[in-house]
Amino acid sequence: AQSVTQLDSHVSVSEGTPVLLRCNYSSSYSPSLFWYVQHPNKGLQLLLKYTSAATLVKGINGFEAEFKKSETSFHLTKPSAHMSDAAEYFCVVSEGGSYIPTFGRGTSLIVHP
């Protein structure tokens, strides 16, 4: 069975400082992992994905994530936060055994000027 745990419900940063959103996963198979972003009243948009290629994945808007199998983690980072990054972020795991993408509860990123 697959599951994903987002360790923080809210993360607050100042504009221009680094962002770290934490995600741990559990999977019976080699998983695919994704980060999606949801701006208020908008649909979810894919930020980046890991599908067993390079463990360091670069996405849109300067975000990246590193797959660490030993730690079962897939944390999302960005060197410098922008006000427009304020949104809800979801970590998602999917595996070939189920074909069902499973979402974490989400982390709300708050960016202060």
Binding site: S32, L46, S94, Y99, I100
Partner: protein, 117 residues
């Protein structure tokens, strides 16, 4: 390319009434999902279709929820009768096929927000 279309965007009903949501996926996408997103929680899968067949509906409350995708294109999700706890955003998503749902991107509509009074 047109995205995933959903309607209505907002719906307010009283408990025990019925409601229906419509979704038109991206053209050519065989796999379609309905997710329920309660405020403060991540989306929870209700039902997954591959063309017009159901792949998984294990978390669909079948005593009140129903969904269909008769021609393998657009889909309807119905709730009858609605309960207070059904207040949520109902998200429709599509992907090219089942393999893409594992290794590729899901494309989401903007959601239908339901408020049950």
């Amino acid at each position: 390319e047109a995205g995933v279309a959903q309607s209505p965007r907002y719906k307010i009903i009283e408990k025990r009434q019925s409601v229906a949501f419509w979704c038109n996926p991206i053209s050519g996408h065989a796999t379609l999902y309905w997710y329920q997103q309660i405020l403060g929680q991540g989306p929870k899968l209700l039902i997954q279709f591959q063309n017009n067949g159901v792949v998984d509906d294990s978390q669909l409350p079948k005593d009140r929820f129903s969904a269909e995708r008769l021609k393998g294109v657009d889909s309807t999700l119905k709730i009858q009768p609605a309960k207070l706890e059904d207040s949520a955003v109902y998200l429709c998503a599509s992907s090219l096929d089942l393999r893409t749902s594992v290794f590729g991107e899901l494309f989401f509509g903007e959601g239908s927000r339901l408020t049950v009074l």
